[in-house]
Each structure stands twice: as structure tokens, then as C-alpha cells.
Subunit: 147 residues, 2 copies
Amino acid sequence: MTPSEITDRLQSELPLTRAMGMSVVSWDGAVVTLVAPLQPNLNHADTAFGGSISCMGILAGYALVYLLFQERGISTRVVIQKSTTDYLRPIDTEITSTASLPNPAAIEEFLEMLKQKRRARLTLNSQVLSGKTLAATHTGIYVALLY
Amino acid sequence: MTPSEITDRLQSELPLTRAMGMSVVSWDGAVVTLVAPLQPNLNHADTAFGGSISCMGILAGYALVYLLFQERGISTRVVIQKSTTDYLRPIDTEITSTASLPNPAAIEEFLEMLKQKRRARLTLNSQVLSGKTLAATHTGIYVALLY
């Protein structure tokens, strides 16, 4: 899928991402990167709202799991079980969020568990940046359920 | 402040809360309750997007800290340092989020620390409900900085 196709899919599944102005800027088969402009995500201090930062962290991980299954033609429902965001510094420019697939062994274990139990859990970390500077880290536990 | 005044304040500080349709429905001096309709916060499974649920948890705690200072006439900047959401079950109706002030001793300790160090940290829990059913718990660490 191209970044623009992934953007369309996320925006159609999750209308709030349109209000946030979120779009996917790159996907190379291992790393996905999303951006959102500051304006719709502002807080009272003219930096990014903590809720928007958490959303961007959640979305990078969700996009990865979505792409992992999409590229393998596996139909699942993916939900988030736990989301943790550590805010390190304010974001005063475009919000960038990026996440990388885990190593192949961890992916195989996840897919094998899904096949056996029809349900499997994957922990994914994402980094949220202010421009090029790390501003928050997000850890999401995502659960996939086989249809 | 009335619920409608708090709603206006949050919506003007945080434009994303308008897109979410968030409003404050009650504040009795100890407990604040916020709601948001499902529609703008939907996910791919026609239940609430995990990011919206985290936002509602963050906002209930943030509203409490805001009100705590507002009622005492203390000017601070409040930022979130850490946000953790545990998603327990899907939300398929209006999203309700509620948070309660901690006990008076904990509040006094927080305000005393703020006076001494010009910076203090408060942990607040919020509950996010699907109608009347508990659907997620949120823990936020909020930092207040005295102007």
C-alpha cells in the first residue's frame, strides 16, 4: 500500500484522524511514519495537546499491525488493550510519529499464536517527535482477533 | 464555574475537543464528568477509537487540576507527564469520563510542594464508561508549574 492509500484507510476507519489532519508520509515495509499539523492539535500553551500526542503514538502502532496483516492477506480485527505515553518535551511544530516492526522472530511468534489461539497480542513502541526531536514515547499493546 | 463555562474553556484551549464533541456535564467541587458522542470518535469496528478514549481520560484529570487551581485563584501552567490507559471493553454508546479530586491531605501536599518548589506533580485516575459500564481506566501524572 502507498502512504496515500494507508492515509485514506485510516481516515475512513477513524474520523477523528481527519480532524487531527493526520496523514501517513512513509511506509517502507518495516517503518511507518505519520504526521499531523500542530494547529488542530494545539493546547492552551500553543504546543501539542497530550491527547493528540497519545493518539499519534497509538496510530503509528495500529498502522503497523494493520499493514502487517494487510500485506499477508490475513483478516483480523485489531484492538488496543493498553496505551502508555511518556511526554518528554513540548511539541511546537508538526507532530511526527514513527514505529518499526519488531524482529522477524517476534512477528512469526505473534502470527503463530494467532493461528493457534485465534487471538494474539503484540507490544509496539512508537516515537513521537517535534520536527526531528524526540518528544514522547508510546507503548501500545495491540490484540488481534482472527475472523 | 458551571459545566458550560468549563466546556467553553476546554474547547477554546484544546480545539480537538470540539472535533470530539466533548462537553462537561457536571462538576460538584469534587467530581467532574465529561461526555462525548460516539459518532466523531468511532473506530473501524463501530465502537470508540482507543485514542478518543485516552483523550477523554486525560481530559477528566486535566479538568480537575484546572478547576482545583481556578477555584483557588492560583495561576499555573499544567502539563501531562505520563498517560496510561487500560482498555477493558469496547464503548458502543456515548463516551463518559469521570475523575474525582484526591483526599484533602493529598491536595494540601500538592499545593504546598507547588508553593515551595514552584512545580508539583499530581497523579489522577479517571474512569471512562460506555453508558454506565466501566470500559477503561486512565492514570495521568500532571505537572503544575507556578507562573
